[in-house]
Structures are given as structure tokens and as C-alpha cells.
């Protein structure tokens, strides 16, 4: 007999009437757009698919919904396989990477990689991608993590010069020229420099976010990094020249890939010699960047998919620096070390230095990936 308690518990999960109405309404609207697009003459612009996504920052909801019609694509950084294949982004053209097997591919660019700038397309078929960003001195800075409450109070001491006010003006109706307006952003707040980091790389938005539950305010500081429209070559260009990791890592925690994927906060402290970490970081600084994007391959019946990031053989490191900030690294079996905020670009380092850290931080070598 099946476990009645599990069945009874699951019975509690069902959408409210209001939720049903919302979902069905959006679905039907999408269907009408699709039908209108299919029947419309060529050259007639189809309405953008509205794919509203609620971005769960944890304490603040409605103010941070990022809703984009058309599509915001960050070629070479974020994006879906549909986006890349349908639009033929500049990144795909300049960073030919996908191997014939559809697994991780590496670019052969002579070790120099240009990450293109943010581009907004108007292709209605492209799935919208959710991104938090601010425009500063013509550059687009994208989300690199947030600090809340007590954590934010500590980070507050790092705030440098006030640079301006983020307008929160970018929404689903924004056109490409919105992205050229200084301090245009997806949510509002005071923009500051972060001490110890060049403003050509990092700024932050500081705000008192209002909790939906009780109206209480909580301090939030969001870091935003400029990781597009830049040229990088070795890991040093990012991990040292921008993030300044050498000699500044105070502690390291890690999550297994399973926990990371399930948002289970089972952090564990890394326990390896400092010499192991130093050797690892040396190799990371020397390592060449490779562009690892590979499209998700869906079989015809949507039964399964695979991409570079589907492997279970990953490790997730959280470096706490001496200034109290956190840097998240993603390690993928085979020597790939990536900065979580950067996306598809990894440095590849030799096995011995890589495995010493990877294995000590929950990394696996499963053959059934």
C-alpha cells in the first residue's frame, strides 16, 4: 500500500483559484500571440511572448520582477539554446565551440576571448531571459549576488563613492536604446562604488527593501559586475585583476552539486592545505579561458536533454574574502573553473591541481552523468 501520509501531503499542493486564473490567462494570451503570428503575413511583427518570471530574491518579490518582451540576450553569457540558434548571435559566430557530439566544446581563439555586449533582440520566439542589470558609463553591469540584512550591514562598510541613482526604468517594453541611458536599471536604488574594486568592473546598488510579509524594511546590497564587452585571455584577467583573489581568501565553503541544484544549504567547510589552494589558484590565473556553451539538445518528444551543464560531476565553492564579500566558483570535472556570475566562460587547468580541490569539495567522477 502506498504511503497515505505522502499522498495526503501532496494533496495540499494545488493552485488557488486566483493562481489558476492568472496562469490560464497568460497561457491563452500566449496562444493567441502564437496563432496570430502563424497566420500573419511575413513582415508583420508578432507580439512578443510575455514570459513573466518572478525572480525570487527571498525577501522582496514584486519590486524585482524582471519582465522582458522580445528577448534580452547576452550572447556568450546567458541565453537559451533557442536564442542562440535562432538569432545566430555574435558570440556564436566569434566563438565557435560546440563539438559534434553536442557536449562541451572549447573555442580555439588563440587564448583571447571577446565577450560581446548586451544585445536586445525583438524575436518573439526567443525565450525571455531574466537578468538584473544597471547601466553605468555606457557599460551594462549584471547581477553578481546580493547581501541581505545583517550580511548587508557588514558589506555596507565597503561602499565607496556614491555614483548616482539607478532608475529602475528597464522593463518589458524597453528598447535597445534604453540600455544606453546612464543608470537605467531593472530595479531602483543608490549606486555606489565598492572599495577595493575598480568601477570599470564592479558597482553596487544599495536599497532598503520592503518585506512583503510585514512591511518591515531590510537592507539589500547587490553587486553588479561588468562581464560583457570585455576581452579576457587568462584567468588572471578575471580572478586576479578584477576579483583580487590571491592572498585574500579567508575561508572556503562548498556545496555538492545535488544540494546546489536543490537549493539545499548544506554548506561544508573546505579542509585542504593552503598549499593545495595556492597551487590551484596559480593554475587558474595561468589558465586560458574557453567558451563552453553548448545548446541543450531536446529529443523530439521532450524526453531528455543534455548539455555541458547537465553533468552531475560538478562542485560549487563559496569563497569568503577578507573584505567579507563572497565569490562563487563552479568547478566542472575535467579541469573547468568558472566564476558563477560570468556564465559560459571557464578556465581550464591541469588535472592534478584541479582534482586536489575538486575532490575535496564534493566533486564526483560518476560515469553515469
Amino acid at each position: 500500500m502506498k504511503n497515505k501520509k505522502i499522498i495526503d501531503s501532496w494533496n495540499k499542493i494545488e493552485p488557488s483559484g486566483a493562481a489558476n486564473g492568472r496562469m490560464l490567462g497568460t497561457i491563452l494570451e500566449n496562444s493567441r500571440s502564437m496563432n496570430a503570428g502563424a497566420e500573419a503575413a511575413k513582415g508583420t511583427k508578432t507580439p512578443g511572448k510575455r514570459n513573466k518570471k518572478w525572480y525570487r530574491w527571498g525577501a522582496v518579490a514584486a519590486a524585482f520582477v524582471i519582465l522582458l518582451t522580445g528577448a534580452l540576450t547576452l550572447p556568450g553569457i546567458f541565453g537559451t539554446s533557442d536564442a542562440i540558434s535562432d538569432t545566430g548571435s555574435a558570440a556564436e559566430e566569434s566563438n565557435k565551440t560546440v563539438s559534434e557530439t553536442g557536449e562541451k566544446g572549447e573555442s580555439d581563439t588563440g587564448g583571447i576571448i571577446y565577450i560581446p555586449g548586451v544585445v536586445l533582440t525583438e524575436d518573439a520566439d526567443i525565450e525571455t531571459t531574466m537578468i538584473s542589470l544597471v547601466v553605468y558609463k555606457g557599460g551594462v553591469y549584471t547581477d553578481a549576488g546580493s547581501y541581505w540584512g545583517e550580511e548587508a550591514q557588514k558589506i555596507d562598510a565597503l561602499l565607496g563613492d556614491r555614483l548616482g541613482y539607478a532608475t529602475g526604468s528597464i522593463d518589458e517594453w524597453s528598447k535597445q536604446d534604453e540600455y544606453s541611458k546612464e543608470f537605467a536599471s531593472t530595479h531602483a536604488g543608490e549606486v555606489y562604488a565598492v572599495k577595493g574594486y575598480d568601477t570599470s568592473f564592479r558597482v553596487c546598488i544599495r536599497e532598503n527593501a520592503v518585506l512583503k510579509t510585514n512591511g518591515e524594511t531590510i537592507l539589500r546590497i547587490q553587486f553588479l559586475d561588468r562581464l560583457n564587452d570585455i576581452t579576457i585571455s587568462t584567468g588572471k584577467d578575471l580572478f586576479e585583476d578584477r576579483l583580487h583573489l590571491n592572498g585574500r581568501v579567508d575561508s572556503i565553503r562548498w556545496l555538492t552539486h545535488g544540494d546546489w541544484n536543490s537549493a539545499n544549504n548544506n554548506y561544508r567547510d573546505a579542509s585542504f592545505d593552503e598549499s593545495v589552494w595556492d597551487a590551484f589558484l596559480d593554475e587558474v590565473d595561468r589558465g586560458k579561458f574557453v567558451y563552453t556553451y553548448s545548446p541543450d539538445v531536446y529529443f523530439d518528444d521532450n524526453s531528455s536533454y543534455c548539455s555541458f551543464y547537465d553533468t552531475q560531476n560538478q562542485a560549487h565553492l563559496f569563497l569568503t574574502l577578507v573584505d567579507g564579500t563572497t565569490v562563487e566558483l563552479r568547478l566542472i570535472e575535467g579541469g573547468y573553473v568558472g566564476y558563477q556570475a560570468l556564465g559560459w566562460y571557464f578556465v581550464k587547468i591541469p588535472g592534478e591541481a584541479f582534482d586536489a580541490v575538486y575532490d575535496a569539495c564534493g566533486g564526483t567522477h560518476l560515469t553515469d552523468r
Binding site: 502506498k2 547581477d143 521532450n302
Partner: protein, 165 residues
């Protein structure tokens, strides 16, 4: 059953009425909150509208939706832009539609991803292993292993709350 790639509002609403709870429950098992679950449910039906497969039966239709919902949720959870915020350290998102969970459900929701849909289909939908294997396009042995491993985890976490009756 419509064979057209373009479905009418009525057809879509009927499919939604038939399977929305199932899709919602599958999505909630991964996303764990109502807001993200709604997004995933919508995305599942967007795929249905876009792909427009012709279904042989309502069971075929349901199986397709379950598989698609599962893939969408897994894909969403692993995408670069999805942050793993430590929301337990401060106030959680609460909307009027937020689902209230209990210890038993929390234990199920905390299972590793690969077990979730199998557990849902077995316990809630009451499908036998072979049917689950057909729905998810996985070997029967894999489904058996997932169930066995999931049961072991649930037994450990739920203790006396977990009994096969």
C-alpha cells in the same frame, strides 16, 4: 482530439483543466514556491502550444506534460541566472497563494531532483513502475532504483511518519 498544430482557446483550456493540478504538483516538487511554480506551469503549456504535438490519448497528453514540466524545472534550476539565495536567513517570500507544507511534504521536496517525479508518479498518481518508466522514458531498473533509494531517504527522514501501509 485535435490534430491541428494551432489549438483553439477552448482546446487549450480543456487540456489545462484536465492536467493543471498534475503539472502544478510536479513543478512545485522542484520549485518549492508558488511564484516559480506558476512560471514553470505556464512554460510547460507554452511548450505545448509551441510544439503542438498531436496526442493519441489523454494519458499520452498527460505523460508529455509531466515529462516537459520536469525538464523545464530541472533546466530552470540549473540555469546561470538562477541564484541560490539563502532565504532561510531572512524572511521568506510569502504571498497569499503560498502553499503551506508539512514535515512529510518537506521531506519529499528535499529529495534529490532525480527522484521527485518518480516519487510523485508512484505515490500520488499511483502508477506502477513500468508505466513510470514509459512516461519518463527511463529504464524500469532505473525507476526501481530511484524508488528504492527515495524510500530509504524518506524512511530515514520521516522515521515513524513513514510507513508503507
Amino acid at each position: 482530439m485535435s490534430n491541428s498544430l494551432l489549438r483553439t482557446d477552448k482546446e487549450i483550456a480543456e487540456i489545462y483543466a484536465r492536467h493543471s493540478k498534475t503539472v502544478y504538483r510536479v513543478c512545485f516538487a522542484y520549485m518549492k514556491n508558488s511564484a516559480d511554480t506558476e512560471d514553470a506551469v505556464q512554460e510547460t503549456f507554452f511548450r505545448l502550444i509551441k510544439s503542438g504535438p498531436a496526442f493519441e490519448s489523454e494519458e499520452h497528453e498527460k505523460a508529455w506534460l509531466i515529462r516537459t514540466a520536469t525538464n523545464i524545472c530541472k533546466n530552470s534550476l540549473k540555469h546561470w541566472w538562477r541564484r541560490r539565495e539563502d532565504i532561510d536567513s531572512f524572511y521568506d517570500l510569502q504571498s497569499p497563494d503560498e502553499i503551506k507544507t508539512d514535515d512529510v511534504l518537506n521531506a519529499v521536496l528535499a529529495l534529490p531532483e532525480k527522484y521527485k517525479t518518480v516519487v510523485y508518479l508512484y505515490y500520488y498518481e499511483g502508477y506502477p513502475g513500468k508505466t513510470i518508466a514509459d512516461i519518463l522514458k527511463k529504464p524500469q531498473s532505473t525507476v526501481r532504483n530511484y524508488l528504492r533509494e527515495a524510500r530509504a531517504i524518506l524512511k530515514e527522514r520521516l522515521g515513524e511518519n513513514y510507513d508503507e501501509e
